[in-house]
């Protein structure tokens, strides 16, 4: 699993990346009330806003941790946005992306580096 400074996570399986927001991000947002996930077929570039998450406190863009083509957005989040709080790094995933350049992951943090990064905030 890899992490970005914008608090997204990405898990690569073959050339398909599952992406979402970290537990830290979900905790900071508070109760999530709305999620907009991307449609299948959409091309996304690394660091582009590709989803939106809204809580009682704030609305935020979620940035693509890797470039590629969206295979599917997590449609279940539309009717159950609370999943993002309950299981942010599991069932609360945002999208699956067919990765165009797996080497982009090298520029991201691993779990230890991300945990270290959190202590600096």
């Amino acid at each position: 699993m890899h992490f970005t400074k914008d608090h997204e996570w990405v898990r690569l399986d073959g050339d398909v990346a599952t992406v979402g927001i970290t537990k830290h991000a979900a905790d900071q947002l508070g109760d999530v009330v709305f999620v907009e996930t991307p449609e299948a077929g959409r091309a996304v570039s690394q660091k582009d806003g590709f989803a939106v998450v809204e809580s009682v406190k704030a609305a935020s863009d979620v940035y693509a941790p890797v470039s590629g083509e969206v295979i599917e957005g997590n449609a279940a989040l539309a009717s159950a946005p609370e999943t993002v709080n309950a299981d942010p790094e599991g069932e609360g995933w945002f999208a699956r992306i067919k990765v165009s350049d797996a080497s982009q992951l090298d520029g991201l943090m691993d779990r230890a580096a991300y945990d270290q990064f959190l202590t600096t905030l």
Partner: protein, 528 residues
């Protein structure tokens, strides 16, 4: 006779044995302290009644054919006293600037002088129709022209579009003028980005996106200002405009504003200024002198007039020389033969991009704003800004030892911004603290905005409040801060205890909003 009078009378002091009134015990009826629990207007028993006597119809409806109503209309019927009581009771459950200080940051909740209301109700302003012949509304047009003159003078800008209906509508107007200017110079196709700082009002990026631009965020420095180096690196010939609020939403003056404008113009882009915080600088700073190309002015903030209760707004947009030709119709001119409304320019140099609304703007707000301006005078308006800034700094100075100022170095402008650093380790959140303020009789400040400050508490007292009122507010916050640090968690987690309604489930309301009332089973809706 005096010998037989009951000289004891009724007791005028509570019995020594009376227990303290305890709000934790609900009353038997749901009413509280002379305030009755008020149902929705649809939940009353007024379905079979009507507040007015209508004559029996003389026709049997035969002319209506299939259009004759067969089902009950489904509207409640109330007598006049019932209708009055319903709305007055609802108003008593709400807060208003006429009740107390209303410290919502970014909202400029200032007192609305009653003189404004008297002026707005003059029949020559309140009983007119936009389609009346202009010869019969010369006074109203002159008022619009005079107000436009004041707005141009106060901002140092050559033109103003009067018709936008509120702040965000003004932003839309400004960005549409900017887009029209880029279209006219043939650069629209390549200039597709709008730069917005991270501390911006949410409406800024929303407006840019609505006009079809891609929003690019500009970083903020540690002292809460626009990061000029980051801005410079993102400016280029693909940028249409930047949108900057000054003073910004952290309550700080963008001290590099001249440089920001210079860099923006050098890149061929336009400088949109969000004028929501104009109250802090009105009469002191002219945005035109800073290099601003377009700025909306919330008449309903800076120049009093109702706001925050869903009342109407008005957001005229001042424009620079470069954008003036693209201002939307209509505008008022005086050709020496009286005032006229120009709907379509004869001069070809004028390339109005269209219009913002069907008619001419928010007349009632125009009257109130001009009344406010003329009763204060230019020196009075300058003092408005000075007092607003002084009041905010007084609050910041008096609370900084018990709460943590987000930007402790140097003075603030019209808003004092605190973060939740001082609540760390107390289990109490900004939201809990705000709810406890309600129990103490004070409306909370703006919370969790701006987003760049953790657990933000943004306090804008405005110039309305006296030192005595500010001291009452400060005293309440100091007492609460003391209670928080003393570990009185229950006082905060359970708050509000004394409000008409206790803590509401905002999450459930947002996740599954109930947007319409539906009649319960068996509800009689047979009113005619």
């Amino acid at each position: 006779m005096t010998s037989t009078m009951n000289t004891v009378g009724r007791p005028t002091a509570p019995a020594p044995s009376a227990p303290d009134h305890d709000y934790k015990h609900p009353t038997l009826t749901g009413g509280r302290g002379l305030l009755q629990d008020e149902p929705l207007i649809f939940e009353g028993d007024g379905w079979l009644k009507t507040g007015v006597d209508l004559a029996e119809p003389t026709s049997d409806g035969g002319d209506l054919g299939d259009l004759v109503r067969r089902d009950p209309i489904g509207l409640p019927g109330l007598s006049e006293p019932e209708a009055m009581r319903h709305y007055v009771r609802l108003s008593q459950k709400n807060h208003a600037i006429d009740l107390a200080l209303y410290p919502l940051g970014s909202c400029t909740m200032k007192h609305n002088p009653r003189l404004n209301e008297k002026m707005a109700r003059l029949p020559g302003f309140s009983d007119i129709h936009p389609l009346q012949p202009v010869s019969t509304v010369q006074g109203a047009l002159e008022l619009m022209d005079t107000l436009a003159h004041w707005l141009k003078t106060l901002t140092g800008m050559p033109a103003v579009a009067m018709s936008p209906k509120a702040g965000a509508h003004g932003e839309l107007c400004g960005l549409m003028a900017i887009r029209a200017a880029h279209e006219a110079s043939g650069e629209h196709e390549k200039r597709r980005k709008v730069l917005v700082p991270t501390s911006a009002h949410g409406t800024n990026p929303a407006t840019a996106a609505f006009v079809g631009y891609t929003v690019v965020e500009v970083a903020q420095t540690d002292d809460g200002r626009v990061d000029v180096a980051d801005l410079a690196s993102k400016l280029g010939d693909d940028v249409a405009a930047i949108m900057v609020t000054n003073p910004n939403t952290c309550g700080l003056f963008e001290r590099d504003i001249i440089e920001i404008a210079r860099l923006t113009h050098e890149a061929g882009a336009y400088f949109y200024c969000d004028g929501a915080n104009f109250n802090a600088i009105v009469g002191r700073v002219r945005p035109g002198d800073l290099g601003v190309d377009a700025m909306h002015i919330n008449l309903h903030k800076t120049f009093s007039t109702p706001h925050g209760g869903g009342g109407p707004g008005a957001g005229p947009v001042v424009l620079s020389e470069a954008l003036a030709p693209f201002a939307p119709a209509p505008w008022v001119v005086n050709d020496g033969d009286g005032f006229k409304l120009v709907e379509r320019a004869e001069d070809e140099a004028v390339q109005a991009f269209g219009r913002m609304c069907a008619f001419n703007g928010q007349m009632g707000m125009f009257v109130r704003a001009l009344s406010y301006m003329m009763s204060h005078g230019s020196d009075g308006l300058r003092q408005v800004a000075e007092d607003a800034v002084l009041n905010a700094n007084y609050i910041k100075a008096r609370l900084s030892d018990v709460m943590s100022a987000a930007f402790p170095d140097g003075p603030c402008m019209h808003e004092a911004l605190f973060d939740d650093e001082w609540l760390k380790g107390t289990e109490i959140t900004t939201l809990d603290f705000a709810k406890a303020m309600i129990d103490e009789g004070f409306h909370p400040m703006t919370m969790y905005f701006p987003l760049v400050v953790h657990g933000a508490m943004l306090i804008e007292p405005t110039e309305t409040e006296s030192k005595a009122e500010l001291d009452r507010f400060i005293n309440a916050l100091r007492l609460l801060a003391g209670a928080a640090k003393a570990g009185e968690v229950e006082r905060f987690k359970g708050a509000p205890f004394h409000a008409p309604l206790r803590r509401l489930d905002e999450t459930r309301a947002a996740r599954s909003p109930k947007l319409r009332w539906t009649a319960p089973e068996g509800h009689n809706m047979a009113a005619e």
